[in-house]
C-alpha cells in the first residue's frame, strides 16, 4: 500500500529568484499526524500547498496514495480535506449553508449535521459566518475539510491567533480524525502544538528539512534533556564571551551553551552534576548569581540549537 503522502526533492522558486522550497523530501504513513515546524517564511505553506495540488513545484515529485496530481487530480481532491491559512468564508452564508455548499462538491460527503455535531457547531448552525468568533470560524474551516469524508487532512497553521481553549478543541478534532484512521499533515510555528499533537515532525528552515523525528526523539538528540538558565552580575571581568563560553562548556554534563542576553542557557544531560559545578565556578570567579532555573528541554531549544534563532523571530 503506497504512503498517503510522499514527496521527493521538492523545489519551488518564485519568479526565478526566491527559493521558497529547496529540496524537501517527506514520507508520511497512514494514520500518522505529521507536523512541519518552522518559523514564518520557512517554506511550510509553499510545501503544504504543493502537496495539496494548489501550487506546481518547480521540480520534484508528489504522490498521494501513489497518485500524482497530474494523473488523477479529481480523485485526489476527493481524498483530501484542507484548511488554508486564513480563508475568509462568505460572511453572509450560515454555517450550515457553507457546509452544505462544500459537501455538494464531493461525491460521497458526510452528513453536515454529523460534522456540525462533531465540531460543536450545532448551536451555531443557523448563524451567519460573519458573526462567528475566531475559534468557531477556524472550526468551520476544518468542518469544510472534514465534510468531504477525506482520508488526508491538511491543516495550514490551524490554531494561529486562537485562544487556548479553542486551540485545545481543535487538537481534539485532529486526534478524533486520526483515531478513525485518517492521516494528518499540519504546519505550525507553535512548539507546544507540535509537541503534543504530532507523532512525527520535520523542522523546516529556509525551505529545507533540518531535522526529522518524533518530538521526544528530536529533543533527546538535539536539545539535551534539561536546560539550565542563569544570570550573573559583575560579568565584566575581562573575559570575552568566547572565553566564558569555553568555561561553561567545560562544566560536567554540559552539551552546549548559548547566550540570550542577559541569560546564559546550558543544555545539560545531568543537572545534578552540572549545577554544583556551576555554583563552584561562579564562586571562584567572584561573580554573583542573580537567577538560576532549570527546565525540561523543548522543541524550541531544538530549533534554537539548529538555527541559532527562535521560532517566533524573523
Amino acid at each position: 500500500m503506497p504512503s498517503p503522502i510522499e514527496c521527493v526533492d521538492l523545489r519551488k522558486t518564485y519568479d526565478g529568484k526566491v527559493e521558497a522550497v529547496r529540496g524537501l523530501s517527506l514520507r508520511i504513513e497512514a494514520g500518522e499526524c505529521f507536523g512541519l515546524l518552522g518559523p514564518n517564511g520557512a517554506g511550510k505553506t509553499t510545501t503544504i500547498e504543493i502537496l495539496e495540488g494548489l501550487l506546481a513545484p518547480t521540480s520534484g515529485e508528489v504522490r498521494l496514495f501513489g497518485h500524482t496530481w497530474t494523473d488523477n487530480p479529481r480523485q485526489l481532491r476527493e481524498w483530501i480535506g484542507i484548511s488554508l491559512q486564513d480563508t475568509r468564508l462568505s460572511e453572509k452564508l450560515s454555517v450550515r449553508e457553507t457546509l452544505e455548499l462544500f459537501a455538494s462538491f464531493y461525491s460521497e460527503p458526510r452528513p453536515s449535521s454529523a460534522v456540525l455535531e462533531e465540531l460543536q457547531l450545532t448551536e451555531k448552525a443557523d448563524a451567519w459566518v460573519g458573526k462567528l468568533s475566531g475559534g468557531q470560524k477556524q472550526r468551520l474551516a476544518v468542518a469544510t475539510a472534514l465534510v468531504g469524508n477525506p482520508r488526508i487532512l491538511f491543516l495550514d497553521e490551524p490554531t494561529t491567533g486562537l485562544d487556548p481553549q479553542s486551540r485545545r478543541q481543535l487538537w481534539d478534532i485532529v486526534r478524533a480524525f486520526q483515531k478513525k484512521g485518517g492521516t494528518v499533515l499540519l504546519t505550525t510555528h507553535y512548539m507546544d502544538e507540535a509537541e503534543r499533537l504530532c507523532d512525527r515532525l520535520a523542522v523546516v528552515d529556509h525551505g529545507q528539512i533540518i531535522a526529522e523525528g518524533s518530538p521526544p526523539d528530536l529533543i533527546d538528540r538535539l536539545g539535551g534533556h534539561h536546560v539550565v538558565e542563569f544570570e550573573v552580575s559583575n560579568n565584566a571581568g575581562g573575559n570575552s564571551d568566547g572565553q566564558a563560553a569555553e568555561a561553561w562548556r567545560a562544566l560536567p554534563g554540559v552539551e552546549s551553551v548559548r547566550y540570550e542576553d542577559p541569560t546564559i542557557c546550558l543544555n545539560v544531560r545531568e543537572p545534578h552534576l552540572t549545577i554544583p559545578a556551576l555554583l563552584d565556578a561562579l564562586d571562584q570567579q567572584g561573580q554573583n548569581l542573580e537567577h538560576l532555573s532549570t527546565r525540561q528541554a523543548s522543541l524550541e531549544d531544538v530549533f534554537v540549537k539548529l538555527t541559532g534563532r527562535h521560532l517566533r523571530e524573523n
Binding site: L54, I82, D86, K92, E100, L101, Y106, E108, R110, A114
Partner: protein
C-alpha cells in the same frame, strides 16, 4: 428552555437515518452547481448594498432625471436686462410680445421669457455662472446688444427667441406664414431616450461589478483557492456565476422597464421577449468583460480601478444620457464598436421603435463578440489562487 430542548433533540431525531446511511449519500452531477447558485443568490439577497445599486440606484436616477427633464408647458428662458434708460422700454416690449403670444391661440407655443433687471456687472456675472441664458443691454440710441454664448445651445436659442419677441413687438411683420406641430408623445421625450440607456448602463455596471468585483473579492478572501482545492468542477462555478447574473438581469430589466412604463408611460413598441433576449445577452457579455477585467487582479483596489477604466469610455461615448451621434464622425466607428453602444442602440430600437431582433443582427454580433472573446481570454488567463 423549551427551545433548548427542541434544539438538543433535533439532531438525534434527524440524525439517525443519515448516520446509518452515511456512506450511501451520493451527490448528483448538478448538486455542486445547484448549491453554488443557491449560495450566490442567498449572498446577493443578503447584501443590502447590492439591492440598492442594482435596483434602487437606477430607479432613483430615472426618477430624478425624468423630473429634471420633464416636458414643461413651454420652454422657459431666463434673461437679464441691464439697468439703464432703455430698460423699461425693453421690458415693455417683451411683456407685449408675451401677452400677444398667449392670447393668440393659433400661434405655436412661444417660449416664455423671464426677464430680470440688473446692473450691468451683476447681470454679466450671473450670466457667466449660467443663471441667465442671455443678457440684453439696451443702448442709448434705442438699439439693443445681446450678450450670449454661442457654445451654449440654450443661450443661442434664447437670443433668437428674445430677438423675435422684441422685433415683433416693435412692429416687424412675418414675411412667411408658418405653423408648427408639437411633439411630446410618449416615445419621443427625453425620459424615453433615457430609460433604455439607463437599462444598458445598469446591465454594464452590474455585470462588471457583479462578476468582476465579486471574483476578486473571493480571490482576495482565498475562497477561490479553497474552492479549487475541492473536487468542485470549475465550469460549474462559472456557470453558477453566469446563471446568477442572468437571474439578476431579468429582475433588473423588469424593475426598470416596469417603473418607466408605470411612472413615465414609456411605450414598449417591440416585444418583451426581444428586450429580455437583448438584456440577457448584454448582461452575460458584460459579465464576461467583467470576468476578463478581473481574471488576474489580486486586490480589490486594483480591480475597482480596472473596472472603472474599462467602463469610463462607455459612460462617455455609448449614449447613456445623450445620443452618441453628438461625437465627431471620425470617432464614430470606435463608438459603434463599443458593447454598450450596441446594447443601448438595440434596446432603444426595440423599445421605442419596435425593431425586431433580426433587424439588428450587427449589434447582437458586436455584443456576442465582446462577450465571447472576453470569456475565452478570461478562462485562459484566469487565476484561481
Amino acid at each position: 428552555m423549551a427551545t433548548e430542548n427542541t434544539k438538543s433533540h433535533t439532531p438525534n431525531l434527524e440524525g439517525q437515518p443519515p448516520v446509518a446511511a452515511a456512506g450511501a449519500r451520493h451527490s448528483g452531477r448538478w448538486t455542486g452547481y445547484n448549491r453554488l447558485l443557491g449560495a450566490r443568490m442567498l449572498e446577493l439577497k443578503r447584501e443590502p448594498e447590492i439591492i440598492f445599486w442594482v435596483f434602487g440606484f437606477p430607479l432613483l436616477l430615472a426618477l430624478g432625471l425624468g423630473i429634471a427633464f420633464r416636458n414643461k408647458p413651454a420652454d422657459n428662458t431666463s434673461v437679464a436686462v441691464v439697468r439703464n434708460a432703455g430698460a423699461a422700454r425693453t421690458l415693455a416690449l417683451l411683456q407685449a410680445s408675451s401677452d400677444r403670444a398667449s392670447s393668440d391661440k393659433s400661434s405655436p407655443a412661444r417660449s416664455f421669457i423671464h426677464a430680470t433687471v440688473l446692473d450691468r456687472e451683476a447681470a454679466l456675472n450671473a450670466f457667466h455662472f449660467g443663471k441667465f441664458d442671455l443678457v440684453v443691454e439696451p443702448n442709448p440710441d434705442g438699439s439693443v446688444t445681446y450678450h450670449y454664448d454661442p457654445a451654449r445651445p440654450e443661450s443661442v436659442l434664447s437670443r433668437s427667441e428674445v430677438d423675435a419677441a422684441l422685433q415683433s413687438a416693435a412692429g416687424r411683420q412675418d414675411a412667411l406664414a408658418t405653423s408648427s406641430s408639437v411633439s411630446s408623445e410618449p416615445g419621443s421625450r427625453y425620459i424615453d431616450f433615457l430609460i433604455p440607456g439607463l437599462l444598458g448602463m445598469n446591465l454594464m455596471n452590474s455585470g462588471m461589478w457583479g462578476i468582476g468585483f465579486a471574483l476578486v473579492e473571493m480571490r482576495q478572501r482565498k475562497l477561490l483557492k479553497r474552492f479549487v482545492a475541492t473536487p468542485m468542477r470549475r465550469s460549474d462555478f462559472m456557470f453558477a456565476l453566469t446563471t446568477s447574473r442572468l437571474i439578476m438581469t431579468i429582475v433588473q430589466v423588469g424593475a426598470l422597464l416596469g417603473f418607466g412604463m408605470l411612472v413615465f408611460h414609456l411605450p414598449l413598441r417591440g416585444s418583451l421577449f426581444s428586450v429580455l433576449v437583448l438584456a440577457a445577452l448584454g448582461g452575460v457579455s458584460f459579465g464576461a468583460v467583467g470576468l476578463l477585467t478581473a481574471c488576474r487582479a489580486q486586490k480589490l483596489e486594483t480591480a475597482s480601478g480596472l473596472i472603472n477604466l474599462v467602463m469610463m469610455p462607455m459612460w462617455v461615448f455609448s449614449g447613456v444620457f445623450f445620443s452618441s451621434q453628438h461625437f465627431p464622425a471620425r470617432i464614430q466607428p470606435f463608438i459603434q464598436a463599443l458593447p454598450l453602444t450596441a446594447l443601448n442602440d438595440a434596446l432603444r430600437a426595440t423599445i421605442l421603435e419596435g425593431a425586431t431582433l433580426h433587424s439588428q443582427s450587427t449589434r447582437l454580433l458586436i455584443l456576442a463578440l465582446w462577450g465571447g472573446v472576453s470569456f475565452i481570454l478570461a478562462l485562459r488567463w484566469f487565476r484561481w489562487t
